[in-house]
């Protein structure tokens, strides 16, 4: 039984060049995501990944179709759904002049729950930044803080929208490990990415989107068997990133 069931989702926007015509940002998308899996939505920019995610999260209205999360209808009870999910958005700006602890306590209060900011920051490796402002953080730290914010309500499902875009390889690996740890604790994770390596390394199953529709959906291994071309005759040992990491080490650089 899927924890997220989306059927025939559609979202239309007016065409920016001709407002009388609409285009389908999301067209007939259906997803069935199992509890405790890491599910990836892959696709180029503008494929409709974020819009799909935001419809599931109750952030964007649904033009057509249905979404049930843990058997709650998102269209009918968006606030009940928001209570059991955690969301990390692509942009992560916060109120000025508040430190990490202030912000976590603020988000916790919006769920009418109480938390220990220090313990939560320790979970994402930021316990020594408790009095820092988000602007003082590096890219990777910011992403990890933004995940901490999404964890204040101890959600059943965590949504990550392009979590590693713009991060250096060390920070990226670190974030992947965090996702794996959270998943091992029983959290379902849905993420969007256009990083193929990330999808392959992290996801149990993948849906590939293009121009608003899902064009393939399966485990990474099966997708490779189905669609990947034959390997070259002499395979290289690893890639340049492996070389980079071997030379500069795995330690986090921020």
């Amino acid at each position: 039984m899927g924890i997220i069931k989306a059927t025939n989702l559609e979202k239309h926007y007016p065409n920016p060049e001709n407002p009388l015509v609409t285009f389908a940002a999301v067209n007939d998308v259906s997803l069935d995501i199992e509890p405790e899996e890491i599910f990836g939505l892959l696709g180029p920019n503008g494929a409709g990944k974020t819009t799909t995610l935001e419809m599931i999260e109750g952030l964007t209205s649904i033009d057509k179709g249905n979404v049930f999360i843990d058997d709650i209808d998102v269209r009918k009870q968006p606030y009940a759904v928001k209570k059991i999910i955690g969301v990390q958005l692509q942009s992560n700006e916060y109120f000025d002049r508040l430190n990490l602890s202030d912000l976590l306590l603020l988000f916790a209060s919006l769920y009418a729950t109480s938390i220990d900011p220090k313990a939560l920051l320790a979970k994402v490796n930021l316990e020594n930044k408790i009095k820092a402002k988000p602007d003082d953080l590096s890219g990777g730290q910011k992403q990890r803080f933004s995940i901490a914010c999404a964890l204040v309500n101890n959600p059943k499902i965590l949504f990550l929208d392009e979590p590693t875009t713009g991060l250096d390889p060390q920070a990226k690996r670190n974030l992947w490990n965090l996702a794996k740890t959270l998943n091992a604790e029983g959290m379902t994770i849905v993420l969007t990415t256009h990083n193929m390596e990330e999808a392959e390394y992290l996801c149990d199953r993948i849906a590939i989107m293009d121009q608003g529709s899902i064009i393939a959906q399966d485990t990474p291994q099966q997708l490779i068997l189905d669609y990947a071309p034959e390997p070259p005759e002499i395979p290289l040992r690893g890639n340049i990133e492996d070389v980079f990491l071997a030379l500069t080490g795995h330690g986090l650089r921020d």
């Binding site: 952030l59 964007t60 958005l89 000025d96 002049r97 603020l106 919006l110 914010c149």
Partner: protein, 361 residues
């Protein structure tokens, strides 16, 4: 009455404001400059600078010069006609009185009054007071008692200076600006930076968000206005005749109206650049039409009913009635009806136009 989430969010907004030392310093600067200006001028308009040329130097003319100098509304400079004429043209003087050589009783004395016609407002006042001066000299010389005498008596029987008239209006005007900046400008900024979207990922409702901002800003505005009021009472010796509770009651209701209107303007404005002209379009006409610097009754008849219905007018005139006339809330019930009407209108447009799904994206 309020949920924990609403109170925590409101507390956070206050914390953000309190930690913004620069805007805190600047918001204190305005009341200080304002009180400073009036402290120096004593709360009264400056006397009019006039020049006086006495070409006659006879007993009559000297007596006339003395009488002119006694008048508080004039600051008199004596000198030669050529010098003073130059000063008049430069704008250092508003008018120049020339007493000709042949100024005497037999010649039914003629004075020449040279004016800068662009100073229209002062010209009438100068002519009137000169006329009455001449009349009183004439009586003195002829030793006659005036047939009629005008005695000015303030029906409200209290010292009323211009500053007393001005202060409640200025407070109301500041209230409007602070509120619109507090809700409207912030709303646009939070939307642009994606902060609103982040908030609405959590299960808070738009209502919670609006209530929190209104609570926080009300608290901040009341403190700001209290500081100004305290300075005005302490340094400018402003008389607040009515109850402070009534005055702050009106301020709280006014804050509600303008915060809601701020939300409405913030929802209309799509960009940070657009909010400024939109807000000015709302505030500037009211600065002129709402009787802040001069009474509404001095406006053209046609505009008066509209001017009286403006939100800033009902707030400013209520505050003025309480501060200057000692009116109770009951005594201003007609204004209160206007305030309550604006509360409904502003709350309606604020909630109607604040569509967070649009606002947050």
């Amino acid at each position: 009455m309020f949920t924990k989430s609403q109170l925590h969010l409101a507390k956070t907004f206050i914390k953000i404001y309190y930690r913004d030392r620069q805007s805190l310093a600047f918001s204190l600067m305005f009341p200080l400059i304002f009180t400073g200006i009036f402290l120096f001028s004593g709360g009264e308009p400056d006397p009019t600078d006039i020049g006086l040329v006495n070409q006659s130097q006879n007993e009559l003319s000297i007596r006339f010069v003395e009488l002119v100098k006694e008048k508080d509304i004039f600051a008199v400079t004596e000198g030669s006609e050529a010098d003073l004429r130059e000063q008049l043209i430069k704008g250092d003087l508003t008018a120049l009185i020339i007493i000709p050589i042949d100024f005497n009783q037999s010649n039914t004395g003629r004075l020449r009054l040279l004016l800068d016609a662009s100073q229209v407002r002062q010209v009438d006042a100068i002519r009137d007071s000169l006329d009455s001066l001449l009349l009183s000299i004439e009586r003195e010389l002829r030793d006659t008692q005036p047939l009629f005498k005008l005695e000015l008596e303030d029906v409200k029987a209290r010292p009323q200076r211009y500053i007393d008239f001005l202060l409640p209006g200025i407070l109301a005007y500041m209230l409007m600006n602070l509120c619109i900046a507090g809700s409207g400008y912030n709303l646009v900024e939070y939307r642009r930076r994606g902060i609103l979207k982040r908030l609405f990922v959590t299960p808070i409702k738009p209502k919670d968000f609006i209530i929190s901002i209104v609570l926080a800003r009300m608290f901040i505005v009341i403190i700001q206005l209290s500081v100004i009021l305290a300075l005005a009472i302490g340094l400018l010796k402003i008389n607040v005749l009515g109850g402070l509770y009534s005055l702050f009651g009106v301020i709280v209701l006014g804050a509600f109206i303008f915060l809601c209107i701020g939300f409405f303007l913030g929802s209309l404005a799509k960009t940070q650049e657009a909010i400024r002209p939109i807000a000015l379009l709302f505030t500037l006409p009211q600065l002129i039409l709402s009787g802040i610097f001069f009474p509404i009754s001095s406006l053209p008849m046609l505009i008066q009913p509209i001017a009286q219905a403006l939100p800033l007018s009902v707030i400013a005139s209520s505050m003025r009635a309480i501060a200057n006339d000692g009116a109770s809330l009951f005594a201003i019930h007609f204004n209160l009806i206007g305030i309550v009407a604006w509360m409904f209108v502003s709350f309606f447009i604020a909630t109607k136009f604040f569509d967070w799904q649009k606002v947050a994206s």
